[in-house]
């Protein structure tokens, strides 16, 4: 067989790729207790799924609200939505977050967002929209449970809601309908940002929890590779 220089480089690249991906093979990483790794992966996957689901729901709901809320360049002030947990954070601050704080922030944010989201269901006048919202709420509840599972696996306690810190932002007669619509707009927007941030959070967490690739290499050598 005729091997050329290009082929040699290709084989080397292939070998490197295989070695790089060896840690991802679950069967080779099992050393007994799987640890929080799979839970984090599942949470990450769920986050991505919810991102996709929210794109569809937000489109439908914002059309229901009507213009200007369904216009792409509409960017109103937050006003009543100030109480919503903000996903946006300084990059340095985000990097410096420890695992516990990172997970706690996620948990608290989705707890509040879920509560607000259930409020949307009351505004919806069409049965189809109510069904979509209910389905998304169920999925979000699942994400919350998944985060709680990761925290438990890592030995972190779940944050207890302090008295008086229950979400005060809720539709009420004091609020104008327009501001309510703006809050709904912001709720969906913030939810979208949170899901995006969570994906980053869980990806970072996932990498951090996994053992380094060198250890795997040693492990493979011991088995005569």
């Amino acid at each position: 067989m005729d091997l050329r220089a290009g082929d040699s480089w290709g084989m080397l690249a292939c070998l490197c790729t295989v070695l790089w991906h060896v840690p991802a093979v679950p069967a080779l990483n099992r050393t007994g207790d799987p640890g929080p790794g799979p839970s984090i992966q599942k949470t990450y996957d769920l986050t991505r799924y919810l991102e996709h689901q929210l794109r569809s729901l937000a489109g439908t709901y914002l059309n229901y609200l009507g213009p200007p809320f369904n216009e792409p360049d509409f960017n109103p002030p937050r006003l009543g939505a100030e109480t919503l947990p903000r996903a946006t954070v300084n990059l340095e601050v985000w990097r410096s977050l420890n695992d516990k704080l990172r997970l706690t922030q996620n948990y608290e944010a989705y707890s509040h967002l879920l509560c607000y989201l259930r409020g949307l269901n009351r505004q919806a006048a069409t049965a189809e929209l109510r069904r979509s919202l209910a389905h998304f709420c169920t999925s979000l509840q699942g994400l919350l449970g998944s985060i709680a599972g990761v925290m438990a696996a890592l030995g972190y306690p779940l944050p207890q809601p302090l008295p008086g810190t229950e979400p005060t932002w809720a539709p009420g007669p004091a609020h104008s309908d327009f501001l309510q619509k703006m809050d709904d707009f912001w709720l969906l927007k913030e939810l979208q940002t949170w899901l995006w941030r969570s994906a980053k959070d869980f990806n970072r967490l996932k990498k951090k929890i996994q053992p380094p690739a060198a250890a795997v290499t040693l492990h493979l050598e011991a088995h005569g590779f």
């Binding site: 229901y64 609200l65 009507g66 213009p67 200007p68 809320f69 216009e71 960017n75 109103p76 002030p77 006003l79 009351r122 505004q123 919806a124 006048a125 069409t126 104008s176 309908d177 327009f178 501001l179 309510q180 619509k181 703006m182």
Partner: protein, 952 residues
């Protein structure tokens, strides 16, 4: 009455309802006498922003008591939050006099209304915060903003709109005829640039509530009234602004009301049995409007009965059945009218109405036996029709009855081997006449010559024909059909052996109605009718025979059938039926349902081709099997010179070329001679048949080339000559041997020689001829002749020795040889065809290198050694080439006796024959060397001599 002093309103108090945009005023009137009521008029002024800016002035008249608080309300078009409003009131006693003659009180002080707190410099608000209007309403929206805000942009449904500046910090927007856009309302918002301070409202526009349509109530059981209506559009809105409209049922006689749970139906329970009259009002209601409809009715007029139950059919017979049913009992005062329908084959055939209180009965008569029916029944109020109940249907079938009609029977008869083959056909009875399922057909044959010879046949109920083989053709046949209830009347048909007279076939044309067949009436009085028979499917052996019975006084009929197809020839036969039921053929007609052009052209063969003519023949073309009556043929001929022969006409052929056409008008003429042709010319012809409709299909022309005249003549003369010459040659050849023998024999027969007679007569009258048999050979000479010798000997003559050397041996034969014989010469066995041609016989091809004894097939070595004594031990190849030579064996030479050695040493030595002086040489054919004892000798005795190599 004294003039009253003016009474001034005091302590006006103003309250504000944001949702309704109402200003509610409350005040009292001072100095009002105790226990006295005064009719007063209040003049109210409302100013906006400033007291001087009066926007509304109006009167309010009311009766005022002492210490009474007077309430008045004013609705503002502009949202009250957007501007400060001022109100003042003055009053006057309404004494019936014109206002100018009465005196007004003093104005109350201006009361100021601030619906909105003082604005902050960066504040921006849009009002009204929550507004619900109906489609088509006019709405005023206002925006107020603080002193720091300058550039305010307002949008309705995302579209920028411009408002009216009411004040430096107030913008108003008049929206007229607002449409319904969505249940979540129309969005209106203002934003200040560049601070992006935003506020907005949602304007909820409701569809107009419609009046319920088709409001109606009815009862099915006198226990519940079911009221239904069409609700129209749903006016519900989102954000809990307005639910869907509600419906309420109010009955004014009983003064009861019920909120309806559904939007199009409401059930009302009948509690008072004695209440017959109901007055219902249906009220539809939403936040903006209330609509109502009313109906008034007598309960017994709104009865929609339930479907009859326990519907059953009893006493079902062949032509009669009884239907029984029950209805819900509504009391003695109320009866139902029930409609009964009898359906057969999908159609209503009987209908009747029966008045019923509890149960009903209806008898159906004149039913058709063995028929499926469906009886259906429904009921409605007898006194006042409101609605029919649902149908309740039951199916039933009447029982069978005996067939009522005799079968239509016809037959074809033919004689075969002395028997009479009768194909009997009958038409199945119609359902009306069969009156049940025909189980079988009974056929009874009765010999007319021997009336007591009756035979019964039976055919399945599905059969329509039967083949009978009878011993003779004089029979009467009775046919009946049977079902489970009985037998039909018998159909009688008679057959006779008389084939009748020969009738000529006539052609008929189809008319619009069908084939018109007419015949000459038979004068005989014993004719009871006529039958016209024809075949529908000609390919079928039984041909799906059809027939039509016609009365005795009719002499024509029109035969029509859906089975007739264009291009098919149908033959019709008209029979007269005698009183004895015997049919006799009287007419034959044939015709096409529609004639078509011939589907195929004749297949033409060319015969008798000469230089000036040829004959076209299509004798195998059948004119009867075509798709129309063949009226003739067209012979189309094409030639290079385009000259038409006599009788031909120029025409345009099917391939658009010019050709000559000849019309043969006799369809039975199936040969045609094309004459007056040029020798050695190319012609093309096509023969097409034609019917009344047109010509046959376009075919391809067939080419013919006429031969040239000379060659034709030559062929006429030379061929017989060649034949004759060949015949003569054959005869000559056949007789050549005989001639040769006679005229110039190869070996003259001394007995026949004229010389002999000459010698005899002149010299030696005792001269005799020696007989060959008298010579007894003593030795065999084997000659081995080398090539050179051979070449020398043969000279210029044709060589016939293929091998380079010729070896021969001469062996002395034993004296005790078994039998006398001539010289036997053993030669080399190699020879060629020339040797064969030389008239030698017994020659066998042998490879030259194989010795004779090596040829097992030819001569066994032992046999040969028996013949050749021990002196011939010298091998063949050891003989010196110079000594070997072709030997000559004289016919008269003496055979060698005695010295074997000398023989072996000098094989070429020959001894003269002492007993004969005849020296003429001869070749001895093996076949003539008969004295050789063994059969192998015929294979080996060969003399190889050419005619020119005779030694003397």
């Amino acid at each position: 009455m004294d003039k009253l002093s003016p009474l001034t309103p005091v302590s006006p108090r103003i309250s504000f309802k944001s949702s309704l945009q109402h200003l509610d005023l409350e005040w009292t009137v001072q100095n009002l006498p105790h226990h006295q009521e005064l009719k007063m008029i209040f003049l109210i002024e409302i100013s906006r922003i400033r007291t001087s800016n009066i926007i509304w002035v109006g009167n309010y008249s009311t009766t005022v008591k002492w210490n009474q608080v007077i309430h008045w309300s004013w609705k503002s078009e502009l949202p009250l939050e957007c501007a400060t409003h001022f109100v003042r009131i003055k009053s006057m006693v309404d004494n019936g006099m014109p206002p100018e003659l009465s005196s007004w009180s003093e104005w109350s002080s201006w009361e100021e209304v601030h619906a909105q707190n003082p604005l902050e410099p960066n504040a921006l608000f849009v009002f009204p915060k929550r507004k619900l209007v109906e489609e088509g309403a006019n709405v005023t929206i206002c925006s107020i903003f603080g002193s720091n805000l300058k550039d305010i942009f307002c949008y309705l449904e995302g579209e920028l709109i411009h408002g009216e500046q009411l004040d430096s910090h107030i913008l108003t927007f008049e929206l007229s005829n607002v449409p319904f856009v969505r249940v979540s309302g129309m969005n209106f918002y203002c934003v200040e640039k560049p601070t992006n301070i935003t506020d907005g409202i949602v304007l909820f526009v409701s569809k107009v509530l419609e009046e319920p349509k088709d409001f109606s109530c009815e009862t099915r059981d006198f226990k519940t009234l079911s009221c239904t209506w069409s609700p129209g559009v749903d006016t519900g809105l989102g954000w809990s602004m307005q639910p869907s409209q509600s419906y309420t049922l109010v009955e004014s006689v009983s003064r009861e009301r019920k909120h309806c749970e559904h939007k199009n139906v409401c059930n009302w329970k009948i509690t008072q049995e004695l209440q017959e009259i109901y007055n219902f009002t249906l009220i539809a209601e939403n936040h903006l409007r209330k609509r109502s409809v009313n109906i008034f009715f007598n309960l017994t007029h709104r009865v929609h009965p339930l479907a009859p139950y326990n519907v059953s059919l009893e006493s079902i017979e062949a032509t009669q059945a009884t239907l029984r049913w029950k209805v819900l009992y509504h009391g003695n005062r109320y009866s139902l009218l029930c409609q009964v329908e009898l359906e057969g084959e999908g159609k209503v055939i009987q209908q009747s109405n029966v008045s019923v209180k509890v149960s009903g009965e209806e008898i159906f008569s004149e039913l058709v036996p063995d028929t499926e029916y469906q009886a259906c029944i429904r009921c409605a109020g007898a006194g006042h029709f409101w609605k029919w109940s649902e149908w309740n249907c039951q199916k039933f079938s009447t029982s069978e009855a005996a067939p009522s009609e005799a079968l239509a029977v016809w037959s074809t008869v033919r004689e075969e081997n002395g028997s009479c083959i009768v194909n009997l056909f009958w038409k199945p009875l119609s359902k009306l006449h069969a009156k049940g399922k025909i189980l079988h057909y009974n056929i009874i044959t009765e010999n007319l010559d021997k009336p007591h010879r009756v035979k019964l046949y039976s055919a399945s109920g599905l059969a329509n024909d039967m083949k009978l083989t009878l011993d003779q053709c004089a029979y009467q046949i009775n046919v009946t059909a049977s079902n489970s209830a009985g037998q039909s009347p018998a159909s009688v048909i008679a057959i006779s052996g008389d084939s009748g007279k020969e009738v000529e076939e006539e052609r008929i044309q189809r008319t619009e109605d069908g084939f018109f067949v007419s015949w000459k009436p038979l004068s005989a009085d014993n004719i009871i009718g006529y039958v016209v028979g024809w075949c529908v499917r000609l390919q079928d052996p039984l041909c799906d025979l059809q027939w039509k019975n016609i009365g005795p006084n009719t002499t024509s009929t029109v035969i029509s059938s859906d089975a007739f197809r264009p291009g098919i020839r149908y033959d019709f036969r008209v029979y007269g039926i005698s009183t004895g039921r015997v049919a006799s053929l009287i007419e034959k007609r044939t015709g096409y349902y529609r004639e078509l052009t011939p589907s195929m052209n004749p297949r033409v063969t060319v015969k008798n081709l000469t230089s000036h003519s040829f004959v076209l023949s299509w004798t195998d073309y059948s004119t009867n099997d075509q798709s129309g009556f063949i009226q003739g043929y067209h012979v189309s001929l094409k030639s290079k010179n385009r000259q038409c022969q006599p009788g031909f006409e120029k025409a345009v052929c099917s391939d658009d070329s010019v050709c000559c056409k000849y019309n043969i008008k006799n369809p039975e003429q199936k040969t045609f001679t094309v004459e007056n042709l040029q020798p050695e010319s190319h012609y093309e012809f096509l023969v097409t048949s034609y019917t009344r409709v047109g010509e046959g299909p376009n075919g391809t022309f067939t080419a013919v080339t006429t031969p040239d005249e000379l060659s034709y003549t030559l062929v006429q003369i030379i061929l017989p000559m060649i034949f004759s010459v060949l015949l003569i040659i054959s005869v000559c050849y056949w007789k050549s041997q005989w001639v040769k023998e006679k005229c110039y024999p190869e070996i003259p027969d001394p007995n026949k020689s004229s010389i002999l007679s000459l010698i005899k007569s002149k010299e030696n009258p005792h001269l005799t001829i020696m007989n060959v048999k008298d010579c007894i050979p003593d030795a065999l000479e084997v000659i081995n002749k080398p090539e050179s010798t051979k070449a020398q000997v043969m000279g210029t003559e044709k060589p016939f020795l293929a091998e380079s050397e010729l070896t021969a041996y001469l062996y002395p034969l034993q004296k005790e040889h078994s039998g006398p014989g001539p010289w036997i010469c053993f030669e080399n066995f190699t020879y060629n065809q020339s040797a064969s041609d030389a008239g030698l016989c017994g020659h066998i091809p042998v490879p030259s290198k194989d010795l004779p004894w090596q040829q097992g097939l030819l001569t066994q070595p032992d046999n040969l050694l028996n013949v050749l004594e021990g002196n011939c031990e010298q091998p063949l190849r050891e003989i010196p080439a110079g000594e070997a030579s072709l030997n000559y064996v004289s016919q008269l030479a003496s055979p060698l006796y005695g010295d074997k050695d000398s023989f072996s040493n000098n094989p070429t030595t020959t001894m003269p024959e002492p007993c004969s002086d005849y020296k003429m040489q001869m070749a001895v054919p093996a076949c003539l060397a008969s004295p050789l004892p063994s059969k192998e000798s015929s294979l080996s005795s060969v003399v190889l001599l050419d005619q020119g190599e005779h030694y003397h």
